[in-house]
Amino acid sequence: MKNNGKDVVLRLEKITKSFGGLMALNGVDLSVEQGQIVGLIGPNGAGKTTLFNVVTSLYKPDKGDVYLAGKKITGKPSHQLCHLGISRTFQLVKTFLSLTAFKNVLIGAIYGHGMRGRQAREEALEALRLVGLADKKEVVTAHMTLSDRRLLEVARALAAKPLITLVDEPMAGLNPSEIINMLKVIKRARNERNVAILWVEHKVDAIFRLCDRVAVLDYGRKIAEGKPEEIAQNKKVIEAYLGKPPP
Amino acid sequence: MMKKTTKIVFLLTCLFFLSSLFFTMQQARAKDKKEILIGTHMPLSGLGAFTGEEQKWAYEQAVADINKAGGIYVKEYGKKLPVRLYEIDDESNPTKAAAAVERLIKRVKVDLILSGQVGAMGVLPGMITAEKYHKYYHGAVIWVPQFLQQHFKYCTMYFMDPGQGAAMVFEVWNSLPEKDHPKRPALFLEDTFDGKTIGNVMESLAPKFGYKFVLRLTMPMGAKDFTSQILKAKGAKVDGIFCMSNVPEAVTLVRQMKENRFSVKAFQGFKGTWPSNFYKSLGKDADYILCDGFWSIDYPYKGAKELGERFYKDFGRYSTNVGMYYAVAQILWQAIEKAGTLDDLKVRQAVLDNKFETVNGPADYDERGIALFPLGDNQWLNGKRRNIYPFDLAKYKIMVIPPWDKR
């Protein structure tokens, strides 16, 4: 599948998902190309995380399909999706608390990508280096700060050598200097690994700074998609999301 | 990190634990024999606890009585030796019963073992363990086929014959006037080996006495509701019941029979209906119900009456059980004296070779190590068990149960 000359890594087709009476996602289309960073923004409860959970098969969509590199993957178990090339991080950080940073990333390398032995260890170290946690590799994650754990999740997701990584609010709870660091890490990840990144974020300025394209969700619908500059000007987005335009 | 001192204290405690185990285990058998150490295990807690209490009492009486007489004369030591009893609670658990016998043999280092209780729950695992270590297990309360299956060389058994027990039930029913014979009897059986064994024997012997059971119902152990069974029996027009269960189940069954207005002409209970608590729990509703008895205070044997009254003095009730346990001990004491030694095989041989007089009548073991005594039957009336069987010893005759609304 080509789109503007580049490979489409992830494509969502008319994803619909409701909980009880609440329509969390309503016919959402989205595609991400190789090496692209796509931002996904929207007010609270717009369905961003639900979309992630549908892509990673934590929820089954009511309608619609998910395609990875042109192949339909809807409803395949989470761990298979990881083998096929989708890895992710979590809004509420989910590192394995009793394990060291190194072992956390090792799990990504071994189980996410199927590497073994020395190769897996090297890959894990490399991923830790990429996010700047190489010197903390023997620290048990329970003793790490939130910022380090967020970075660790990114490293773990990258160690699986994915085609696409879904990052879910990697900056929530971080302070500005940590946010800068996270921005650098995400940029570096894309540049060094040529991995596609689908990125849910609340910090709109951060998204605008880095993303190639931005999609906006509101009440389960995609209300806009385009370059950051375009989105920033989009009236619908501003009204639905940012409220009154800033003076 | 914790402090070093606490760690040391902890290690010392562990050391204390272990060393105390070691030391107590190294009591060698003294050359100079001062007493005869008899071990036993009993269900003092758990499902069999209700019989364990009486067994404990009977054994302790037997020991006290023989010691009052100066002990048992053992030729090998040339003197009378007093008897000491070492009891372990096996919690009605077969695994714990086996472990209890291991402990009796290896740690307490008893000379001989007196029977535990309740067949597969205690006696059988106990016997198997004793057999392994070639220790004589003077057993009781186990069914003959179960005993024979194991080809025991170091065990003997003293119990009733299930066939005889079943025959007793039919003979007692037949002693009713012809019109009151239960025409459509049913079996209510607990889901244990006891229930199954006696149920099978009852069914196979029934035609010989002109009976046929129309229903065979299960009473699961610990169940709290038997209405379904009662309704089935009612539907099948059952007019006689044979029930093998524990006390709580028997009590619940009778209560619910009354609640459901279900009357029968004869109700023969085994195991669950003899304890005096059965009557206490039901009051007058327990009247006319038949219960088996391993023994009766009314037996004309030496010491029977005296023993029964002693029990009454201690517990304020009568027992149909203690005589049997007392007899088990009596046989062992006599056998030790006759063997003139505490050697396991020789004592067992003495048990096989001799005839014994007990409070439960004469006991005569066959060459397989089995002695059977006849079962008794009693009928509850006004809080008393009236002995109605064996017919030649019994003072009373069976009465038909009046329907609930005519009582």
Partner: protein, 331 residues
């Protein structure tokens, strides 16, 4: 989990010395008359049972309350094949078959349970399994001989030594395989599943497969113990085989020692057995009362287990593993 090489060496030598001690002990004393030999035999059984529970509960976070089902299956498979003459006395093949029987049931039951139920619900489900099997065996007709149970003549019995050594071997093998698993990629996956199933799955760990692996392995060694027990007691019935004791005691021992630790359960087994023995010795009549009191005292003063007391690390696992936290009033 990683220890420094030097420390690991000392640990290894302590372990070897202990095993060596246990191997020669019955040869030094009159094994047949030694109560301690029997006690050690029991302890080895419980070490295996405890680790069998610990691997699924402590490492993978799947708290099973149905280990007595596997123990009972082990007992019955051995007793049935033995009675039928297909297996002999202390037949290694029959023992393996018993373990395999338990493992097969673990897979068959584990598939729906582990796929559908998260941790705490799973605990309750397994409790039901044990009871269902008990009733099935009770109503099993001539195959299980119902309430009567299966009796095998005990006259083949020669000595306690083979039992002692087999139990020792099984427990050492269990410990070894646990050690290797804990230090391999499998152990990594199990811990990840325990810590966070969603994250584990998202990172490519086939969680169902690994949960079943841990559960089945635990069932297998538990079945082995059941088999050995059948050979030891010569009479298998539902009360003995499916006794709740076989699940409660190992859990007590693991909690006492330290959940999810490697050495903890062993310490738990030996200290609980030693304590109960000592209490029996001092008050043969009242021992259940004092044993109950002992458990209460331990939980009051050693709530995180002996291992956390020795190492000073609080055992956070206990909080994670609450088997019944799902019963929250307002979920």
């Amino acid at each position: 989990m990683l220890q420094e090489p030097l420390k690991r060496k000392t640990h290894l030598s302590i372990a070897l010395a202990l095993v060596f001690f246990f191997v020669i002990y019955p040869l030094l004393v009159d094994a047949e008359a030694s109560y301690l030999v029997f006690l050690f035999y029991t302890a080895f059984m419980y070490v295996t049972l405890s680790q069998g529970w610990n691997i699924a509960a402590g490492y993978a976070g799947q708290v099973s309350l149905g280990q007595h089902a596997f123990f009972g299956i082990g007992c019955y498979v051995t007793a049935i094949t033995w009675r039928a003459g297909t297996a002999g006395y202390l037949d290694p093949l029959a023992m393996l078959m018993s373990g395999a029987g338990a493992a097969v049931v673990a897979i068959v039951v584990g598939l729906p349970l582990l796929a559908k139920l998260r941790g705490d619900y799973f605990a309750l489900g397994t409790l039901g399994l044990g009871e269902i099997l008990r009733v099935a065996a009770l109503n099993g007709g001539s195959f299980t001989e119902g309430a009567a149970g299966i009796s095998i003549p005990s006259d083949v019995y020669q000595s306690i030594k083979p039992y002692y050594f087999i139990a020792l071997l099984i427990s050492v093998l269990t410990m070894l395989s646990l050690w290797f698993i804990a230090h391999s990629r499998i152990g990594l996956a199990l811990v990840a599943i325990r810590e966070d199933e969603t994250a584990a799955s998202a990172n490519g760990i086939p969680i169902l497969r690994y949960k079943i692996l841990a559960f089945t392995l635990g069932a297998f060694v538990t079945g082995l113990c059941g088999s050995l027990n059948a050979y030891f007691v010569f009479h298998i019935d539902t009360t003995g085989a499916f006794n709740l004791n076989w699940v409660i005691m190992p859990i007590l021992m693991v909690i006492l020692g330290g959940v999810g630790t490697f050495v903890g359960p062993v310490l738990g087994v030996f200290s609980l057995i030693a304590a109960f023995e000592l209490i029996r010795l001092l008050t043969p009549q009242l021992h259940p009362i004092f044993s109950g009191a002992f458990i209460i005292l331990v939980t009051l003063f050693l709530p995180d287990g002996i291992m956390s007391y020795l190492t000073g690390h609080k055992n956070r696992l206990l909080h994670k593993l609450s088997p019944f936290k799902w019963l929250a009033l307002n979920k």
